[in-house]
């Protein structure tokens, strides 16, 4: 095991990027990592706001027009290997914002997230439950840990 993967297995840094959802998912994710009740830090999952430190990108929200370019750039800035988790109904299929009456798509929404960047794990829910976020993070880990 190389030093890099050794240290990665012991500290996974998660970056949360918010692309225009309703804040519900974001707070649940911060809650899941910070709050002593769920406490993802005990599984060595840490929250960071810096893409260059991050291993896992958690995306919430339906990706509004102005957030599309920043999201691509953040994805590019994260060093390989990286995993992406899309969290919440918004990130998975545009949520309530994507379709206006029937199937007229909204011009404001560029999502869902996998239109823009590749997604490795999907966490459903509106809003996501902290338990599901932990499960999603665990599902994304093999990709990171098995990378050479």
């Amino acid at each position: 095991m190389s030093l890099k993967s050794y240290s990665r297995a012991r500290a996974v840094h998660v970056m949360l990027v918010y692309t225009g959802g309703c804040n519900g998912c974001d707070i649940e994710i911060v809650n899941c990592i910070f709050s002593p009740k769920y406490d993802a830090e005990q599984y060595k999952i840490f929250l960071t706001w810096n893409p260059r430190e991050a291993d896992v990108l958690v995306v919430t929200g339906p990706v509004t027009k102005h957030n599309e370019q920043p999201l691509r750039e953040i994805y590019k800035a994260i060093p390989e290997p990286k995993a992406v988790i899309a969290a919440g109904a918004c990130a998975l299929m545009g949520g309530v914002y994507k379709n206006i009456n029937g199937d007229i798509p909204s011009e404001e929404i560029m999502g869902p997230v996998d239109n823009i960047i590749p997604v490795d794990a999907k966490v459903p829910g509106c809003a996501v439950r902290p338990e599901d976020v932990l499960a999603g993070a665990v599902a994304a880990l093999p990709k990171l840990l098995n990378a050479k």
Binding site: V17, G21, K65, I74, C126
Partner: protein, 377 residues
């Protein structure tokens, strides 16, 4: 250039520190430009609009019940406030009578939401302050409230309790739920008082937040700040005192005098016991009877307005009804009226305090992106 600096009337400053839209110090995407001289912020400019999803546009033409539940998705922090106010617009327009019991349940939800919103503010504030331990403690206490909300509404974030003419049958309070709320309130009160005690007796925190990010009373009024941000500057305004829904409840309006970060934090800390007081009264006097009134007819109505006091200030909704569908939706959230206050609170503080000065006004940028431009053809 005069045009740009109308609010602050400051001369043009050369050094600019831009932040955002996605920045590691700010959780939500928004753009701040800080104009600095010798590391002291002389002027600030906040640009919003990044999160614009056009909820008003999506609501346009939807059946009113659907539109009401869509307003919840405007904000995941004060979702109950949005749906309550939106339902109230239709109830006012159609003259729907709400049963007393339903009203009390709505008020319990609203006050629980105020608790969790204020605790989130305190947690976020402590985190920006650099005190992660306090943030974690706050999140732990907040968890009790979140579980109560999940118990009543069935979801941790968007509960969807109010419906036209009452509350959802799911939200009926039975003995077990009432007991849980009582226990939860006892626990939260005890912990919050402990927290407040520690907070104000910590000399390091107090020296960090006293006199920083000051917003003067006149400025707050001029910039039409609202909610706890306004009350922290000494203005004694709380819409709850004037709302007929809160007539039978006894509570105090909290004000502080300085308008700095300390006052802002204290207003929120001290409002938590007041909310607990309201919840206790609501539970003690919970009337019996129905929780929904289905005896009403749909009509066409002109534009109707409604204002309520939500955790962060004054919320405005208005729409007209046409064939059971909503038209001309306008939503005005407290965060958007507080943006002027946020810009002003940064001025004069050191650049490291600027983020804190913005956070002290309790911004919620997902609520903020409301403005819709109407182009005349």
């Amino acid at each position: 250039m005069d045009e740009d600096n109308k609010i602050t009337k400051k001369q043009v400053i050369e050094t600019e520190v831009p932040m955002g839209t996605v920045h590691s110090a700010a959780i939500e995407p928004y753009r701040v430009r800080l104009f600095v001289e010798d590391e002291v912020v002389k002027d600030a400019e906040i640009t919003v609009g990044v999160n614009h999803r056009g909820v008003e546009r999506i609501m346009e033409g939807l059946p009113v019940e659907k539109a009401n539940s869509l307003t919840e998705k405007i904000c995941g922090i004060c979702s109950n406030s949005h749906i309550w106010n939106s339902v109230m617009v239709a109830e006012k327009a159609l003259g729907i009578e709400v049963p007393e019991r339903a009203l009390y349940i709505r008020i319990i939800m609203e006050e629980l939401e105020r608790l969790h919103s204020h605790m989130l503010y305190l947690a976020h504030g402590s985190e920006v302050l650099g005190h992660e331990t306090f943030a974690m403690r706050m999140f732990y206490i907040r968890e009790t409230v979140m579980e109560l909300l999940r118990m009543i509404g069935g979801n941790r974030v968007q509960y969807g309790v109010p419906i036209l003419g009452g509350v959802r049958p799911r939200a009926e309070l039975d003995q077990m739920r009432i007991q849980n709320i009582k226990d939860g309130m006892d626990y939260v009160e005890e912990k919050i008082l402990e927290f407040a005690e520690r907070f104000v007796s910590d000399p390091m925190i107090m020296s960090r937040i006293t006199g920083v990010g000051v917003l003067k009373k006149e400025d707050a009024i001029r910039l039409s700040a609202t909610g706890p941000t306004l009350r922290a500057t000494g203005v004694d305004i709380d819409l709850r005192r004037d709302m007929p829904e809160y007539d039978s409840f006894d509570f105090n309006v909290i004000t502080q005098d300085d308008g700095d970060i300390k006052s802002n934090l204290l207003v929120r800390v001290l409002e938590i016991p007041e909310s607990i007081k309201i919840i206790r009264q609501a539970i003690a006097n919970l009337p019996d009877g129905k929780i929904t009134n289905r005896g009403w007819d749909m009509e066409d109505t002109p534009i109707t307005k409604s204002y309520i006091e939500v955790p962060r200030g004054k919320l405005y909704h208005s729409y007209s009804l046409d064939d059971g569908r909503v038209r001309n939706v306008i939503v005005r959230t407290p965060s958007i009226t507080n943006i002027g206050a946020m810009e002003y609170a940064c001025i004069g503080s050191h650049i490291t305090d600027a983020q804190l000065a913005i956070v002290q006004c309790d911004p919620c940028f997902t609520c903020t992106d409301r403005a819709i431009q109407i182009i005349q053809i």
